[in-house]
């Protein structure tokens, strides 16, 4: 019967195991580039799928389930595992499981294995890290383990790629022959028998352990209807069943039974030696050296994203500039040329420009993660970040935000507590990123003179530092507020294995970088692309024939005043943006931004800056009819000459400039970040909330500053 079923339906094979069992390495070995990463429905937990060719010519879907210690979830990714394994109707319910266990820690890794075995899913046990076991003089008898637990067992090394032929052979065996469910390993108590029997009969479940899981986790099973869940809750009450104590009892009994069985098959020279890992940790997690070493690492990460990406970013920019030039010479000056160059090519350039930063951050983070260092960072900073509702891992995201919020937001995926992750995503864009620097550079001169105090400190340099400090305070302060507002049922734990330090597997690192870049380009790229085109439309088109009129006016003014070709073009561009929808929008919002000290020209720059903050500079240049330059000094000189027609005083006075600076620190003016937040939170709700609260804070801050200083 089963064979017929298997032959007609595409097979799903799941990889399962504890965290740090080397599961991802095995997955990468088995699938290579034939993998796809997405999200599990409703949650942003990585869903990694791959293809596995079977001996009979079929192709099976291989799924890399999140690492978990048991089937009693306390986090989102553990919940995903439970909801698949407790629901035979789930489309990802595996036809077979490859259970990966670290053979050097086999007793610890065996609990989940024994639970899954009782679900009656065909399973092969892969004893991973055979190379490490050999190095540590651990010997084991795979055949004896297979016999004792009635589970086919192979020893492999994911890192070395050792013995994968044997693993493949076992997988093929598993899916080709009839599978007989062996006797459950766990011995049910009378109370467990009673309640699981009732649940199994009522809902027609395949086996008693699945029924027991339903009883133990009723309110965590999202695939059940609310009626079913309350029916089960009713049964639990009726039977006086305590799910939590029952879990403890079950775990205890399993350990008590399999530990002696495993001890017989494994020999290790039990040493109480201090391992190399502990020696490294004596320094790396030291009370004083630990944080210092961490910040040294972060400095390297920050420096790398910031400095190493400059060259490839310049290359990408130059590439797109020459592409634009080529298109401009090949095509006549028409609307579609403008759409192609100012809309599509500019939009694509705006997406691809982030690739170097994303690639560099994930290269370094993946190495730190692979080596095992990240777990130490979490341990050291857990307490500090907890106060702000975040996780030890959040600190890496916050530091990376100093270069760019996009890779920072993407890096939060490793935070398993949803609330901690969300808060990190929401506040990371406050940290001043590299795109704000040109804006700060132009404006800071209007606020602080370039003088030296006490002989050493440049005042503008100090002001720059001040802007960064304000941004950090904004991030932590709002994190604290979110901590108070957001509610979660998830209890926050920190029970973290600090794995042995290991050399990174570069295949894993490179696949991770590739995956992150691909996800950004495809998922966030779509949104960025659409918004770029909308912004192009706003800046290039105006109501009725106002654009042509503006152009004609500018040209006749230019001929009267004998302007050269460049100056004429700049003047036309300036007049056109004024007549465009963006210009109208700028004028439309003028009453709203007047209390901040801005005129409609700044209004236009605020609107176009939404594409990216640095666009502020280009827009200013266009508005002031010096569009052919992009030199920050020239733009600042021109802005300094700008006079407010009503007061006759300079527009960029102290109050207005400071108010603009404050606005740029706080405001969420980066569509790319919003697009990434949408992807990482699984919908528009959080990016919209983020946009409004950040912009509201920016408005309020700028308003106060302007009102106080004007």
């Amino acid at each position: 019967m089963r064979n017929v079923e298997l032959a007609t339906k595409s097979l799903t094979i799941a990889l399962l195991g504890n965290p740090n069992c080397g599961k991802s390495t095995v997955f990468n070995q088995l699938t290579g580039l034939r993998q796809k990463v997405g999200n599990f429905p409703g949650v942003t937990v990585d869903k990694k799928l791959g293809k596995l060719a079977l001996a009979n010519g079929q192709t099976a879907t291989l799924i890399d389930l999140p690492g978990t210690y048991n089937l009693y979830p306390t986090s989102q990714d553990e919940r995903v595992v439970l909801n698949i394994l407790a629901n035979p109707k789930d489309e990802l319910y595996p036809d077979a499981i490859i259970y990966i266990a670290d053979v050097t820690q086999l007793e610890k890794h065996f609990l989940l294995c024994s639970q899954v075995r009782d679900l009656g899913i065909p399973m092969v046990l892969a004893l991973n890290m055979s190379d490490a076991a050999a190095a540590q003089n651990i010997t084991y008898d795979a055949k004896a383990i297979a016999k004792a637990f009635d589970v086919p067992t192979v020893a492999i090394s994911g890192r070395m790629g050792d013995n994968f032929e044997a693993l493949n052979a076992e997988i093929n065996q598993l899916v080709s022959k009839d599978f007989t469910v062996s006797k459950p390993f766990y011995q049910f108590s009378a109370a467990e028998k009673e309640i699981s029997q009732k649940i199994q009969d009522t809902y027609q479940l395949a086996n008693p352990f699945q029924a027991l899981l339903w009883a133990q986790n009723a309110n965590k099973l999202t695939f059940l209807t609310s009626e079913t869940r309350s029916e089960i809750s009713g049964l639990i009450k009726e039977n006086n069943f305590n799910p939590l104590s029952n879990q403890v009892r079950e775990v205890m009994q399993r350990f008590d039974r399999f530990t002696p069985m495993l001890k017989k098959t494994i020999q290790r020279t039990d040493t109480n030696q201090i391992t190399l890992t502990e020696k490294i940790d004596d320094i790396v997690t030291h009370q004083v050296w630990g944080p210092l070493i961490f910040f040294a690492f972060m400095l390297i990460v920050f420096q790398a994203i910031y400095a190493w990406s400059a060259f490839p970013m310049d290359m990408i920019e130059a590439g797109f500039a020459s592409l634009t030039e080529t298109v401009n010479t090949l095509l006549p000056d028409t609307w579609y040329r403008s759409l192609l160059t100012d809309g599509i090519i500019a939009g694509l350039g705006g997406i691809l420009i982030f690739i170097p930063q994303i690639a560099i951050l994930f290269l370094l983070i993946s190495i730190l993660e692979e080596v095992g260092y990240m777990a130490r960072a979490v341990f050291m900073f857990d307490n500090v970040m907890q106060r702000f509702g975040m996780n030890g891992r959040s600190i890496v995201a916050l530091v990376s935000s100093g270069a760019c919020a996009i890779p920072a937001v993407m890096s939060t995926r490793t935070i398993s507590n949803w609330k901690e992750r969300l808060i990190t995503i929401l506040v990371a864009p406050f940290i001043s990123c590299s795109a704000r620097i040109p804006v700060y550079t132009v404006l800071i001169g209007f606020v602080v003179p370039s003088a030296t105090i006490w002989g050493i400190f440049n005042q503008q340099g100090l002001a720059f530092m001040g802007l960064y400090i304000v941004s950090i305070i904004a991030a932590l302060g709002s994190a604290w507020v979110f901590k108070k507002i957001l509610q979660t049922e998830e209890r926050s734990f920190l029970m973290l294995e600090l794995p042995e330090y290991r050399m990174p597997v570069f295949k894993n690192v490179l696949l991770n970088v590739y995956e992150k870049v691909k996800a950004f380009v495809w998922e966030a790229g779509k949104v960025i692309f659409v918004i770029s085109i909308v912004l192009w439309l706003l800046a290039s088109y105006g109501p009725s024939n106002k654009m042509e009129l503006a152009e004609q006016e500018a040209i006749s003014f230019a001929t009267q005043n004998n302007l050269d070709a460049d100056a004429t073009a700049d003047l036309v561009a300036g007049k056109q943006i004024e007549a465009s929808y963006a210009g109208h929008l700028g004028k439309f919002i003028e009453p709203a931004i007047q209390p901040l000290g801005y005129d409609w020209k700044i209004g236009i720059a605020l609107i176009t800056s939404f594409a990216a903050r640095e666009v502020f500079i280009g827009t200013m240049a266009t508005i002031y009819s010096i569009g052919s330059t992009d030199d920050e000094g020239t733009i600042r000189d021109r802005m300094a000459k700008e006079v407010n027609p009503t007061t006759g005083k300079p527009t960029y006075n102290f109050a207005t400039s400071l108010s603009l600076l404050v606005f740029y620190i706080f405001a969420m003016m980066c569509m790319s970040t919003l697009a990434v937040v949408k992807r990482e939170t699984g919908g528009w709700k959080w990016p919209i909330i983020q946009f409004f609260f950040m912009t509201a804070l920016a408005y309020l801050g700028a308003f106060l500053v302007y009102q106080v200083f004007s």
Binding site: Q105, Q247, V251, D281, N383, L494, P499
Partner: protein, 72 residues
């Protein structure tokens, strides 16, 4: 009987039980079991958590959780 949190850094003891079921379930599933020898290695630099070693494996746990581990 003392709590793991009350142990001096550098000292070892045997785990007897856990005073909270949810913590117990999680710790046991990770292999921190009654009967295991546990060593309090050091406190986190900014407090709040401790570095422990139980049966040849290192773990980081919060003070709150360490307070649930009873030693004999």
């Amino acid at each position: 009987m003392i709590e793991l949190l009350a142990l001096e850094p550098g000292k070892s003891a045997i785990i007897q039980s856990f005073s909270d079921e949810e913590t117990a379930c999680k710790m046991m599933s990770m292999g921190i079991l009654p009967g295991s020898t546990v060593t309090f290695i050091r406190k986190a630099p900014f407090g709040g958590a401790i570095y422990i070693k139980a049966d040849n494996q290192q773990f980081a746990i919060r003070n709150k959780e360490a307070a649930c581990v009873m030693l004999s």
